[in-house]
C-alpha cells in the first residue's frame, strides 16, 4: 500500500492539505474519506492546498473545493509549482501563496516561524504568464495578465487573457485577449488558423490569414470595433498597426528628427 496521496498538516499558517501522486479521482475520494473521519475537527475551518507540480485546471480545483465545502471547510489558497495551476487558482479568486502576510487564517496563537517557506509563492497576478507547452484540446488557460504560449493552441483549447496573447506557434483554437474589456489588447501568433478570436467583447469567427501573407506571423487587433488581422513584417511590424502604437512610434520618430 503506497503512502496516502492526501496528507493533512497543521502549520503556523493553519491547516495545509498536501496532494501527492495519483489520479485526481482517487485523491478526491481519499480527501472525502479523511475529512469524514474527523468531520467535527474540520468543520468551519479554512485550509490551503499544496499541490506541488500537479497540473490542475479550474474545474479540478473546483472539484477539490467542493469536497471541502461538503465538510464545511473553506479553501482559501492553492500553492503550486506550475504557473498554470496558480493562474487557474487565481482566476477562482483564491490566494496562490500560503505566506502569513498575505492573509493570516486566524489570529496567531503561536508566532515563531516554525518552518522556512519554500519560494513557491512570489507570483504577482498582474505579471505575464509564460507557458511552454502545446495546449491540446480541452485545455483552458485563464489569466488576468498577458499570456505567452511557446507551443501551439490546438482546436478545442482556449486561451483567455486580461491583457495581450502571444502564441509562439500555431493558433488553431480560441483566443480571447482583453477579456476584462481592454480594447487595446492584441493577439499575435506565428500562424493564425483559429476557430474563433475575441478581443474585449468583440467576437470574430472568420479571422483568416490573407492568402498573400499566409504562413507569416500575424497580429490581430481591434479597429473600429472590428477585429483585423495583419501580417507582421520584419523591420516594420504589423502592416496596419494599431492606432495607439502608431502614434507612439511617430512621436519617437519626430523626436529623433528634431535632434538631427
Amino acid at each position: 500500500m503506497p503512502a496516502s496521496p492526501v496528507v493533512i498538516k497543521g502549520t503556523s499558517e493553519g491547516l495545509i492539505i498536501e496532494l501527492g501522486q495519483g489520479d485526481l479521482q482517487t485523491i478526491l475520494r481519499e480527501l472525502d474519506q479523511k475529512l469524514g473521519q474527523s468531520a467535527r475537527f474540520f468543520r468551519g475551518g479554512r485550509v490551503a492546498l499544496r499541490v506541488g507540480s500537479r497540473l490542475l485546471n479550474r474545474d479540478e480545483i473546483e472539484a477539490l473545493g467542493n469536497v471541502l465545502y461538503k465538510w464545511e471547510v473553506t479553501l482559501w489558497a492553492v500553492e503550486a509549482d506550475l504557473p498554470e495551476t496558480r493562474a487557474a487558482a487565481d482566476s477562482l479568486g483564491l490566494e496562490t501563496s500560503i505566506r502569513p502576510a498575505s492573509r493570516s487564517p486566524a489570529p496567531s496563537r503561536e508566532e515563531p516561524a516554525a518552518e522556512e517557506k519554500e519560494p513557491a509563492g512570489g507570483w504577482v497576478a498582474s505579471e505575464g504568464l509564460l507557458v511552454r507547452r502545446t495546449l491540446r484540446s480541452g485545455a483552458s488557460l485563464v489569466h488576468r495578465g498577458h499570456i505567452v504560449v511557446v507551443g501551439d493552441v490546438n482546436p478545442g483549447a482556449e486561451v483567455i487573457a486580461g491583457g495581450d496573447i502571444v502564441i509562439w506557434g500555431t493558433l488553431r483554437g480560441m483566443a480571447h485577449a482583453g477579456a476584462g474589456g481592454d480594447e487595446g489588447a492584441v493577439i499575435c501568433a506565428l500562424r493564425f488558423r483559429p476557430e474563433q478570436v475575441r478581443i474585449a467583447d468583440v467576437v470574430s469567427t472568420h479571422v483568416q490569414e490573407p492568402a498573400v501573407s499566409a504562413g507569416m506571423p500575424h497580429m490581430a487587433a481591434l479597429r473600429d470595433r472590428q477585429i483585423v488581422l495583419e501580417p507582421w513584417i520584419e523591420g516594420i511590424g504589423a502592416a496596419g498597426r494599431h492606432p495607439k502604437d502608431v502614434s507612439r512610434r511617430w512621436s519617437g520618430f519626430w523626436r529623433w528628427l528634431r535632434r538631427h
Binding site: D23, Q25, T26, R136, S137, G138, A139, N154, P155, G156
Partner: protein, 267 residues
Amino acid sequence: MGGRIITITSGKGGVGKTTTTANIGVGLALLGKSVVCVDTDIGLRNLDLVMGLDNRIVYDLVDVVEGRCRLKQALVRDRHLSELYLLPAAQTRDKTAVSAAQMQALCDELRKEFDFILLDSPAGIETGFHNALAPADEVIIVTTPDVSAVRDADRAIGFVEAQEKGPARLIINRIKSDLVRKGEMLTIEDVVELLAIELIGIVPEDETIIMSTNRGTPAAMDRKSLAGQAFRNIAKRLTGQEVPFMPLPSNDGWLKRLTRFVRPASS
C-alpha cells in the same frame, strides 16, 4: 523489468482501437514474442470477438481482480498462435468494478509472464480510460483522419502528457488514399503536424478488416491483406526494427500511376 505494458487508446470510439490491439498482438506473436491482449472495456467486451475467442471464455478480468480465479485460469490462448493470449473483460459489470490500483497490480503480474501486455482502452476520457492508462509504460494513440477523431485524440494525448505517461505514439487508421488525394480528407501530414507525436503506423482502409473481424481472425494473419501488412509493420517497429511506411494504395489507372512515377509527388 519484464514485459512492456502498452495502452492502446483514442478518445473517440469507433476508430479501431480493438482491431488495432488484436492485430498488433498477432503481429508481435508472429515475431515470436509472448503477448497478452487485455480488454479493459468492462461492460462492453469486444476484443474476444475480434480475436475469435468469445466462446472460450470461462473467467474474466473482474474475476481475477476479485479473487474468484487465478490469473492463469482467466487467460485464453489464441486458436492459431501459441504465444498469444487474451484476458477478457467482464460483460456483465461496469467500469467501477476495477480500480486503477488493481489494474496496476494485475499488469505487474502479467509483466512477469509476457514480453508485451497490450491494454485495449475503452473510448472516452472517464474512469475506464484512466484505469487503462494508469499501468502504461507506453501509449499508442489511434485516430482516423477526420477532424472529430483528431480532436479527441488530441484530448487523450493531453491526459497522457499530464500523467507523464509515454512516449505516446500515433497510428492513423482507415486512410482512404483517393479521398486524401482529392483533398477531401485530412492528410497524414495534417494529422501529424497537429498532434505532434511520433507516427508509428499508417493503416489503409481495407475491406479485409471487416471480413476478418466478423470471422474472428485478425487481418494480420492474412498475408494478402494490406491492412494486415500495415499492422505487422507496426509490430516490427515496436520491437525496434526500422520498417519504412508502405505506399498507400490507389485506385488510379495505370496511366496516372505512370505519370506519378515519372514525376514523383512529394512523399
